[in-house]
């Protein structure tokens, strides 16, 4: 009997060990096949470095990795082209680019920072730049890069305490798109002021069409679309609870109450707004130049134009776009070498053209488009565009602004209350 028990116990141990050994063996084989698939990634051999930061000396040169978030195929192909040309142009460095989705980008950078597993270059959304500078993961580029000919706002977005922590990749801003046929049919002129905008929107609103749409989701994207209206009154991002700030909130609330702007805007991303516009459900929209290639491809017969965002007391728009940042502790020399290459006029022109972006370099931007190009109004609008922040706590400020904006749209607060609440939050962040 006793013997039986001991045998049983030994069997149990064997089973236990077997389980682990089984798993272990499986791991190893999977590992091997994982590596095998790495090396067999023929289509993109430059992406087959398994552990980039540790691969100090690959045969093709020192590894330099880039993280970016553009899911659009055209963007990926254009960036890839520049990288391949760069890799072919020299043999000291081997650049590879990894796609990290926009929704995951901030998370992946945070996790990567905790785990010390970061790329050498990140191409990130400009309002987040200051937060990562605060995190201390970006290299100080002051004096290493000449940004003298760049748009001031774009340079500001990567400057903290007078030090340059990045290089603007490309810029964009928001402007007003309008459906020209609808405007002509309703006998309206292109609006330039808030009052005209409201009148026009009313005239354009029908059973199936709403006059105006702007992305109002409760996040950075919504803030991006709201601040031009806020700034146009003379209010700043940090000073909302005053006559100007309240007027901006009240104006938007009024548009919704009058039925000329759909409440659904709080669920529409900028892309969704564009889709509504090309489907003919919306007559005017606030949106950026990056939509133009899609609009031209998906709705070639649609007759639309772009104009400045109508003003309250002054023209205003918001600066968007991406910045290059170099990660400290990574391959800084390699990263800088690549940046020098990719920011040269020839490369910038190529990429901006494919991206539907405007060069952050003003001297390039001004000759980038033909006079009748649909992009040209955006170059004009850029003169009035200001950056968000730069501030390490910008995400919290932005959260307060988009909340206020959403409260008035959904009618859950009056403009006065929404402004007061936002101000209280902002004051607790920015002293």
């Amino acid at each position: 009997m006793k013997k039986k028990k001991i045998v049983a116990l030994l069997t149990a141990l064997a089973v236990t060990i077997g389980l682990f050994a089984g798993c272990g063996a499986e791991k190893e084989t999977e590992d091997a096949s994982g590596t095998a698939s790495n090396t067999s990634g023929e289509s993109q051999p430059e992406e087959s470095e398994p552990e980039v930061s540790e691969a100090e000396e690959a045969s093709a040169g020192e590894a330099v990795t880039i993280w970016y978030y553009w899911e659009t195929e055209g963007h990926q192909v254009a960036l890839d082209q520049v990288i391949q040309d760069y890799n072919a142009s020299q043999d000291k460095y081997e650049v590879t680019a990894k796609y990290v989705p926009f929704a995951d980008f901030k998370k992946q950078l945070s996790i990567g920072a905790s785990a010390d597993e970061l790329p050498d270059i990140a191409i990130l959304d400009s309002p987040d730049h200051a937060s990562y500078v605060d995190m201390g993961i970006f290299e100080d580029l002051t004096g290493k890069f000449d940004v003298g000919s760049y748009y001031e706002g774009a340079v500001n977005s990567c400057t903290v305490d007078g030090k340059l922590y990045g290089v603007p990749f490309g810029v964009n801003c928001l402007a007003l798109y309008y459906n020209e046929d609808m405007l002509n049919d309703a006998g309206c002129k292109v609006p330039t002021t808030w009052d005209e905008l409201k009148e026009t929107a009313k005239a354009l609103t029908t059973e199936s069409v709403t006059g105006l749409a702007l992305c109002s989701v409760q996040n950075e994207e919504g803030t991006f679309n709201f601040v031009p209206w806020l700034w146009s009154t003379g209010a700043s991002s940090y000073d909302i609870n005053n006559e100007n700030g309240i007027r901006a909130l009240a104006f938007i609330q009024d548009l919704v109450n009058e039925g000329v702007m759909s409440k659904e805007c709080i669920n529409w991303t900028q892309g969704d707004v564009m889709n509504q516009f090309i489907a003919g459900n919306v007559a005017m929209m606030e949106n950026g130049p990056w939509q133009i290639p899609t609009m031209q491809a998906e709705a070639p017969e649609l007759n639309w134009k772009v104009t400045l965002i109508p003003k309250d007391s002054e023209y205003s728009s918001v600066l968007g776009g991406e910045n290059y940042a170099v990660i400290n502790g990574g391959n800084v020399e390699g990263a800088l070498d690549f940046l020098t290459y990719s920011t040269s006029e020839e490369q910038v022109k190529f990429m901006m053209d494919k991206f539907g972006y405007i060069s952050a370099n003003q001297s390039i931007a001004e000759t980038q488009f033909e006079a009748d190009s649909p992009y040209q109004p955006f170059v004009e609008e850029l003169k009035y565009a200001m950056p968000r922040g730069p501030l390490a706590e910008w995400p919290s400020v932005s959260d307060a602004i988009s909340l206020a904006f959403n409260q008035v749209i959904t009618g859950t607060a009056t403009p006065e209350d929404a402004a007061a609440e936002a101000q209280a939050t902002i004051d607790s962040i920015v002293k």
Partner: protein
């Protein structure tokens, strides 16, 4: 030898069966749990995530949460959401399990097909429901209008109360197959003879259900409910995609708020504290489950 003998007691052999799985979970989830608890007592944000000192501020993050409106509403949202989802998906799932337990020709194929909602990534399901619930172009409003149940379109996802309703609908849709399949599996453990003898004794259907089916299914029902509670309580993808916690924070859940604090606003410690509150509530649920299920079974 006596000690050895005690260790090798019949019942203790069970540990050997359980230990590998236990060790696995301890390694892969135990460490994250402990790390998360430590993080919630610190003051980690963007400024000191990588370098700089991480100060222990003990319960400050938790205290801060109690005066945070969004936290309080996420807490009550999460509870309301979980309970409502659980009630509907369990009842419907149970009913369907009983229905498909009858031996008609299509029972098995259709029960199999009903599992399909589980094969779709939750993110895609969430987007699909967002489309179904859209105000102007959504088919749900269209159907309700055609049936003259509503006159004007309901702004499902842009009104606080109805947004929660839409989320619950989506979650129940995913949850029905889950409950149905697990209860169906539980039903197969009930010996058919019991029903035969019950019908010989003249018991009617309702009596057999309450006297035989339900008591014998109790362990399954308890497991399904506790798992359902845990999975629903920490819902993330569905809410993030369908409403992102909006409109005006009205559908924020503890998990979405924790994510937002950690990865969008760089308040890592506060985000961890929210996650730990979630854990604490689930711990109470888990302990009650253990207490109920193990009561009286020990010899």
């Amino acid at each position: 030898m006596g000690k050895m003998k005690k260790l090798f007691r019949y019942e203790n052999i069970g540990i050997l069966f359980v230990f590998p799985a236990f060790l696995y979970m301890l390694i892969f989830v135990g460490y994250p749990i402990i790390r998360n608890i430590i993080l919630s007592f610190q003051d980690v944000n963007a400024g000191n995530l990588v370098k700089g000192t991480k100060n222990f501020i003990l319960f400050d993050n938790y205290m801060e949460l109690f005066s945070d409106n969004v936290f309080r509403s996420s807490l009550s949202n999460t509870l309301r959401y979980t309970v409502l989802c659980l009630v509907f998906q369990f009842i419907i799932g149970f009913a369907l399990a009983l229905f498909f337990n009858r031996k008609f020709t299509l029972a098995k194929p259709i029960r199999g097909i009903l599992l399909v909602p589980w094969m779709i990534p939750v993110t895609v399901t969430a987007l699909m429901f967002k489309l179904l619930f859209a105000t102007d172009i959504g088919v749900i409003n269209y159907l309700l209008r055609s049936l003259h149940l509503i006159d004007t379109n309901v702004e499902w996802l842009t009104t606080p109360g109805t947004a929660m309703f839409a989320l619950i609908c989506a979650n129940v849709w995913i949850g029905i197959p889950f409950n149905m399949i697990l209860i169906s599996t539980g039903l197969t453990t009930i010996p058919g003879e019991l029903y035969e003898s019950a019908s010989i004794d003249g018991a009617n259907k309702v009596q057999t259900f309450f006297r035989i089916t339900l008591p014998l299914l109790k362990p399954t029902v308890e497991s399904v409910l506790v798992l359902g509670f845990i999975y629903t309580f920490k819902v993330y993808d569905l809410v993030y995609v369908m409403t992102s916690g909006g409109p005006v924070n009205s559908t924020h859940m503890l998990s979405t708020y924790s994510y937002k604090l950690s990865f969008e606003m760089f308040k890592y410690s506060k985000g961890s504290a929210v996650a730990n509150v979630l854990l604490l509530i689930l711990l109470v649920v888990g302990m009650s489950y253990i207490k109920i299920t193990t009561e009286g079974e020990e010899k």
